[in-house]
Amino acid sequence: MRLEPIANPSLARSLGFPAAALVATVVIASLLAALAGANPLATLGLIVKGAAGSKFALLETLNRATPLIFTGLAIATAFRAKLWNIGAEAQLYGGAIVTVILGTSALSGIGAAGLPLIALGAMVAGALILLGPVMLKTKFGVDEVVTTLLFNFIMLLLVSYLLEGPMKDPMGMGWPKSAPLDRALRLPRIAEGLRLHWGFGLALISATLIWFVQTRTTLGYEMRAVGLNAQAARFAGIPVSAVLVKTALLSGGLAALAGFSEVAGLKGHLSLDLSPGFGYTGIIVAMLALLHPLGVVITAIFVAGIFVGSDSMSRAAGVPTYIADMLLAVALLLMVAAIGLTKFRVVRG
């Protein structure tokens, strides 16, 4: 058996295989639910209801999607230029640390006007965290998959140290968490009485801006050219290293906004459980969206829905929440295979 490329995949092929992947995901999820001793259809129904069955559920899903949109955008941006940023988790925490430092500072004097400054500070932190690995890559050819991945552990240990030491909340009853942000420096709710905060709005604006950058600006053109064929890009005079550095700054900044938005919009303080792997899940979000910035919004909401829905289903049906992770893993694998099958034909012999 081998694969033969298809020059012009038909529309039926381009849509049929991803659709089949979704159906197969549902079937496999049903089998898993049955394995856990629950009624498969009821379980799936509970997941959908838990994710989108009520206004409260839907807003919860959008809240959960917010950091995933940011990390998904960060990864989609980097991967587009074939910069393999696996360190969105580290950049998220970098953004969160700066948010807490600035958010508990004298900046509260200027009220909500301080928020853009904090967001900017967080982005700078995230960008700087990715700058090291990308410089090592462009100067010495060090594999950024390794360096960015290692930064995740470094940052987690740094946060752990900060929360036990200099940034520990003196009023925190000994829990490893930071002092809360000043009330004036929290992201406001989108509407009174709704749990959804403006971090979601910022995420939508970011996605639109990234889409604009990729399709309408010279920087986006350069990033795509470098990602598709760095040799031809270099020959044509595109400064490949500089483009990779710019991509890294943008990507790191976006991931850091996830940290900013979670701290300033949702939690109000920094703790070690700020991110249940948003940086890694962002990879799934970006890949499912085929690295399209607007697609990231949709897949982030989809992925968040599975998590939120599974949480609620688990409480109701007694099926472990791990089913959410398995569902996502299955969905990703099948989608990757489906995308491959839209471009290649399997030939026997």
Partner: protein, 512 residues
């Protein structure tokens, strides 16, 4: 060597009406051939005639649309390289498939040791290799790193690799393209020994004298069709050349022209080696206005180093680049801004981005300038209009400006690249193998554009491994060998044979 009347049972390989289409292009059109035991047949044809496609079908890299391959009387399953190897076919590719960081013995054993066997069977392998080397006169140190070997030695490793796998039919794809004449002679000796042991050889080439020297039968391919099959002793070079090109293509008429001032001068320039290919060794060269400077040479003798330097990809280690408006920083962008049009050797990997549209490819060098962008914002309407203009003026056959460029044939792709770099009437043109793999129509077009640019006063550097192309187009010729540059020869001063001596490195004042 060949039996006068080869008997039917001597047939070791039979191709029967093999046909392969790539879209509208018929790469192989009902080609049939037979190969007998102990026979050398030559497959002759120009670039793009379908030789390599035919061999790729034989080896299972492609599946034929129609036709059948029979090896030693058994049909060969299509599209299965492993079956081809097992049937006794061995191929020596034009571009070697060796691992530089492994020893000769490792390279030869690679892929022959079953996954589940403990140990490598080194002693047996070493003995078998030593016997093969002695039998065929292919002396080689089995423990040498392949990366440290010269090109001719690497080819020996490739041949030994095929023989080690008990190949009974050896296929050599343009084996002398990278060899000096002396190395070629040694190769021919080896092959003559090999056929005495009953090996059969298919020899792919477009060099007539080699074909005449080695083969017993010649098959000529043209545009995918088998246009002639003759016994070597019944033909001569002129007849073969006529068969190969078909209707005599008149060489482009090149009116002599008085050269203008030097627009680009290299003074004692040396550059780093590129992998196994040598860098430039103290090269001095002047490209003058209104003149085509031809660079002849065997592949891998410094052409890439010179091309990379003028393209702006590399800077000299020593020596100087001089031109009227030399950019501050010598880089691809610096070279472009200095008015150098660059037609790269590999139009797929270097000259274009396959998944980019024609429009995106058309502005690859100019996207950062008005009207294609202002303040970092792209103007796709302007880019599209420009691309439509290039498509129309260069006769690029394509579905439209938004189609990905990978859908285009090599000729149309090259026409777009040509349009892209020649649109601004550049003063200096670097054309590295500009017609390799193109059909006659596209070749004529490319040559016409280069000559027109020369007549308009551009300085053209034409790099080609095709000596006929160099001799037909160039006003002056340099030969490059192991990174050294010969003196300048005016048009017609040296014959092809004399240039061949220079290509072999004979005549250079200093050693490499």
């Amino acid at each position: 060597m060949t039996p006068a009347h080869p008997k039917a049972q001597d047939v070791v390989l039979r191709l029967d009406t093999i046909t392969k289409r790539f879209g509208p292009l018929v790469a192989n059109d009902a080609i049939s051939l037979t190969l007998h035991r102990g026979e050398v047949i030559a497959l002759l044809g120009e670039n793009g005639a379908g030789k390599t496609t035919l061999m790729n079908i034989l080896f299972g890299q492609y599946t034929a649309d129609a036709g059948e391959v029979t090896v030693f009387g058994h049909p060969l399953p299509p599209g299965n390289p492993a079956a081809a190897l097992a049937a006794g076919l061995g191929m020596v590719h034009q571009h070697f498939t060796l691992a530089d960081n492994l020893s000769v013995l490792d390279n030869i054993q690679l892929g022959t040791v079953p996954l589940w066997r403990m140990g490598l069977g080194r002693r047996t392998a070493r003995a078998k290799l030593a016997k093969l080397a002695a039998d065929f006169g292919l002396s080689i140190d089995p423990d040498a790193l392949v990366g440290s070997l010269a090109v001719g030695e690497r080819q020996r490793v490739e041949i030994l690799k095929a023989l080690y796998r008990d190949a009974r039919i050896l296929i050599l794809d343009e084996p002398t393209a990278v060899l000096t004449p002396q190395e070629s002679d040694a190769l021919f000796d080896t092959l003559r020994r090999a056929i005495k042991t009953g090996l059969s050889v298919i020899f792919i080439s477009h060099k007539l004298h080699e074909v005449m020297a080695l083969s017993s039968r010649v098959l000529v391919l043209r545009h995918g069709k088998l246009v002639g099959e003759v016994a070597t002793r019944d033909t001569d070079r002129h007849a073969l050349a006529a068969l190969m090109v078909g209707a005599e293509v008149p060489p482009p008429s090149v009116a002599p022209q008085n050269p203008g001032p030097a627009l680009l001068t290299l003074r004692d320039v040396s550059t780093r080696n590129i992998g196994a290919a040598p860098g430039l060794k103290s090269v001095s060269l002047s490209l003058r206005a209104g003149q085509i400077t031809g660079l002849a040479g065997v592949s891998g003798n410094g052409q890439a180093a010179l091309s990379d330097l003028i393209s702006g990809l590399t800077t000299p280690q020593s020596g100087a680049v001089e031109m009227p408006n030399l950019p501050d920083i010598w880089s691809p962008r610096g070279a472009i801004s200095a008015g150098i049009a660059r037609i790269p050797e590999d139009r797929h990997k270097t000259g274009s981005i396959a998944d980019f549209s024609l429009t995106e490819n058309a502005i690859l060098e100019t996207y950062a300038q008005a009207p294609f962008s202002r303040n970092g914002l792209l103007n796709w309407a302007a880019a599209d209009a420009h691309t439509r203009h290039l498509i129309a003026t260069n006769d690029v056959r394509c579905p439209g400006p938004s189609a990905p460029i990978r859908q285009l044939s090599g000729g149309n792709m090259q026409k777009l690249i040509l349009g892209r770099v020649l649109e601004a009437s550049p003063k200096i043109i670097l054309a590295n193998q500009p017609v390799r793999g193109l059909d006659i129509g596209a070749i004529t077009y490319v040559h016409k554009r280069l000559l027109a640019a020369r007549d308009a006063g551009a300085a053209v550097l034409l790099i080609s491994e095709d000596l006929d192309e160099i001799m037909a187009l160039s006003d002056v010729i340099h030969v490059v060998s192991e990174g050294r540059l010969s003196p300048e020869f005016a048009r017609g001063r040296l014959t092809a044979a004399e240039l061949g001596l220079w290509m072999a490195g004979i005549g250079f004042a200093h050693a490499a």
